[in-house]
């Protein structure tokens, strides 16, 4: 596991606004599978969830937008959640990052 993502700590920007810096460590970049996992989590929460790659900001509830970030391996991304359940949403996303997007699943530490 890449050290950078080993212990992702969300930052609290305001009461219901959090952010998390991550680095893309998948060989193929942020491709369809990890993107779909992000969409899956983001869509569960009412809050706004965005992903930023440099100056490009997209809605994390859209697979097409996430893919169009064309984030290659090594890219630094910033995830942000804002609104109801923002903290819970960012925690879930942090867990996904920590587990390397479950890629491969067998290497993923248990999430208990």
């Amino acid at each position: 596991m890449n050290d950078y993502n080993a212990d992702p700590q969300p930052r609290r920007l305001s009461e219901d606004h959090y952010s998390l810096d991550v680095k893309v460590i998948n060989e193929m970049g942020l491709h369809a599978r990890p993107a779909s996992l992000v969409v899956g989590i983001a869509s569960k929460y009412p809050c706004e969830v965005t992903v930023r790659n440099g100056s490009k900001l997209v809605d994390a509830k859209s697979i097409l937008q996430l893919l169009s970030l064309s984030a290659e391996m090594g890219t630094h991304l910033t995830l942000e959640t804002r609104g109801d359940d923002a903290l819970e949403a960012i925690r879930q996303l942090a867990e996904l990052v920590e587990n390397g997007f479950y890629d491969p699943p067998s290497d993923a530490p248990s999430t208990g």
């Binding site: 193929m28 970049g29 859209s62 893919l67 491969p104």
Partner: protein, 584 residues
């Protein structure tokens, strides 16, 4: 009559009417709507998207049954795209704001993404454009309630011609009615190429801009052995092809009826003929063609043509299924990841290189991305209990690389032991000999492996510094080159002395013209494309050791590939007269 040249991806010779598919020629019924119908129009889009989602789910299931998980995943991603929230928002907004029809709006929204993904030329994401084009076409078909523009519904038999074939188009074609495929774009690793190979339908891709000169129903000849498409052939050409075709059919029928015959020379020496495969489901076909086992199972397919890199489970299932089909005894040699320069589209953009053929690829990539490598090895070891597995490392150049491979493999074994996961401990380990450095140091390498497999495609390319896909160098790139043959002899000598098992894969081993020479040089294991097995075995049955040795002696005295090819051709004509036609 007009002739177009392209890249043959599955051989064969077919004649028939042109059936043209054009994914861009979409019927768009209405464009403008009234203010009152905005809501109804949005609902119409939502319903069409939902129907399409169900249809794609159906495709996903069918593809999984027919082709396995790898292809099914293409549809899985498409399903998510059709349901995309942002896409739905954009379409609804455009309908409301611009008073355009659902068709127009959907098309506009999707085209924007298509343009964007297309612009990412060297990224794996560029392939997503093909998915979106597919979705666009099918969404509009849903909206107009028409059967989609693709022609599999027609009862006509013919040769499918298109700019490019989308995954759903190709997968839904009825193999019995499709004589062949010809596409303007695409390369050896395009969806079309892979599926044509899986369906065993003659196909030529990359024909260039030929669609403007051909009309639906025109008579065409697709020569997927040579890689050309002949539009409106003249009577002489038709006659010539008819003769060639009937001869080809006759030979194929004869070969198939002979396939159970042993692969033994006239004087009783056995030559084992194995199959090179790419997809798990090809294993059964290889058996049907009479393969003694799998001599080369390429595993790149798991990485290409998938939406995402394979998981350990994806690897495992593929290997397990091949091993189970081949049974407990027939060897299955699996080559670890060999992503190469010609598959550049599937590499991360960050790793673009000036000279990718000489770059970070194959085992070099595996040794750098150890996580990826270990995942594959782990799956291989887990699968080893299901049959006679052998593991082979590609593009090995230095002894240090091979040592590192073995260390990593030992590491993975240790992990499995700790986790109490069963695997075989005595799996034969081998390497491809495809870099001249490896051939020259075969002696040193032989102490670290159980077997060698000579990969002629790369060995020729690296020895002669000639790209095999470069048309201008077609005469330079030759398996008959004396320098290449000298390296082969060296490897054979070492393998014999050191008692290392030796086989040869690559196109050369499946070309009957080389069978007598390879036998004479001392090779007793050939690994070839499944459909070449009966032909190669037939040539083997016409050989004798004494004659083959004499042939070798004559070849060794020649100093250029042209003369060597010429005497090999004469030799083959004597052994197998039916090849006379092919060799003209």
């Amino acid at each position: 009559m007009e002739i177009f040249r392209g890249i043959p991806v599955f051989p064969g010779l077919v004649m028939g009417p042109a059936l043209i598919l054009d994914p861009f020629d979409l019927p768009v019924a209405r464009t403008r709507i009234s203010k009152q119908s905005v809501e109804a129009e949005i609902l119409r889009f939502e319903e069409a998207a939902e129907r399409l989602g169900r249809e794609i789910a159906e495709d996903e299931r069918a593809a999984r049954d027919r082709f396995g998980n790898e292809i099914a995943m293409i549809f899985q991603a498409q399903k998510m795209m059709v349901a995309d929230q942002k896409l739905h928002e954009t379409v609804a907004q455009q309908i409301t704001r611009d008073l355009v029809s659902a068709e127009t709006s959907a098309r506009r929204a999707l085209q924007e993404y298509i343009r964007f993904f297309r612009s990412l030329r060297n990224s794996p994401l560029a392939d997503r454009a093909a998915d979106l084009i597919d979705i666009e076409r099918r969404l509009i078909a849903q909206l107009t309630q028409q059967q989609s523009a693709e022609s599999p519904d027609s009862n006509e038999t013919g040769i499918i011609l298109a700019r490019d074939l989308s995954p759903s188009q190709t997968a839904s074609l009825d193999a019995r009615r499709v004589l062949g495929f010809g596409t303007a774009t695409g390369g050896r690793t395009s969806h079309t190429a892979i599926l044509a190979g899986a369906m065993e339908i003659p196909a030529v891709v990359g024909l260039g801009d030929f669609l403007s000169t051909v009309h639906n129903g025109d008579s065409v000849i697709l020569d997927a052995t040579e890689g050309c498409l002949i539009v409106r052939p003249d009577p002489t050409t038709i006659e010539r092809y008819k003769r060639a075709q009937s001869q080809q059919l006759r030979i194929e029928a004869e070969l198939l009826s002979d396939r159970g015959l042993p692969s033994v020379t006239l004087d009783g020496e056995e030559v084992e003929v194995f199959a090179n495969i790419e997809f798990p489901h090809e294993a059964q076909h290889a058996l049907d063609m009479g393969a003694a086992g799998i001599g080369l199972y390429r595993t790149e397919f798991l990485h290409l043509h998938c939406v995402e890199p394979p998981t350990e489970e994806d690897h495992f299932q593929a290997y397990q299924s091949v091993l189970e089909v081949m049974g407990p005894d027939r060897p299955v040699t699996v080559r670890t990841l060999d992503l190469g320069a010609d598959k550049i589209f599937d590499r991360p953009v960050s790793e673009q290189e000036n000279n990718p053929v000489l770059g970070l690829r194959s085992i070099r990539l595996s040794l750098r991305e150890v996580g990826l490598f270990k995942r594959q090895l782990r799956a291989l070891l887990r699968a080893s209990v299901f049959g006679n597995l052998r593991i082979m490392f590609p593009l090995v150049t230095t002894v240090m690389e091979l040592r590192r491979c073995r260390l990593i493999l030992a590491d993975v074994m240790e992990d499995l032991e700790e986790e109490k996961i069963p695997f075989k401990r005595n799996i034969p380990i081998g390497m491809m000999v495809e870099v001249p450095a490896a051939a020259l140091l075969a002696e040193q390498f032989s102490k670290l492996v159980d077997f060698f497999s000579i990969g002629t495609n790369d060995l020729i390319q690296y020895t002669l510094a000639a790209d095999r896909t470069n048309e201008n160098l077609a005469t330079l790139y030759s398996a008959s080159d004396p320098a290449v043959l000298k390296l082969l002899r060296e490897v054979v000598k070492v393998a014999r002395k050191q008692h290392v098992e030796l086989s040869i894969c690559g196109e050369m081993s499946g070309e009957p013209i080389y069978t007598p020479l390879l036998f004479g040089m001392g090779l007793r294991q050939l690994s070839v494309t499944p459909h070449k097995i009966p032909e190669v075995k037939r040539v083997v049955r016409g050989l004798t050791r004494a004659e083959a040795l004499r042939l070798c002696g004559r070849v060794n005295r020649l100093d250029n590939s042209r003369d060597i090819t010429s005497i090999l051709r004469d030799r083959l004509r004597k052994i197998s007269p039916e090849h006379a036609h092919d060799l003209e």
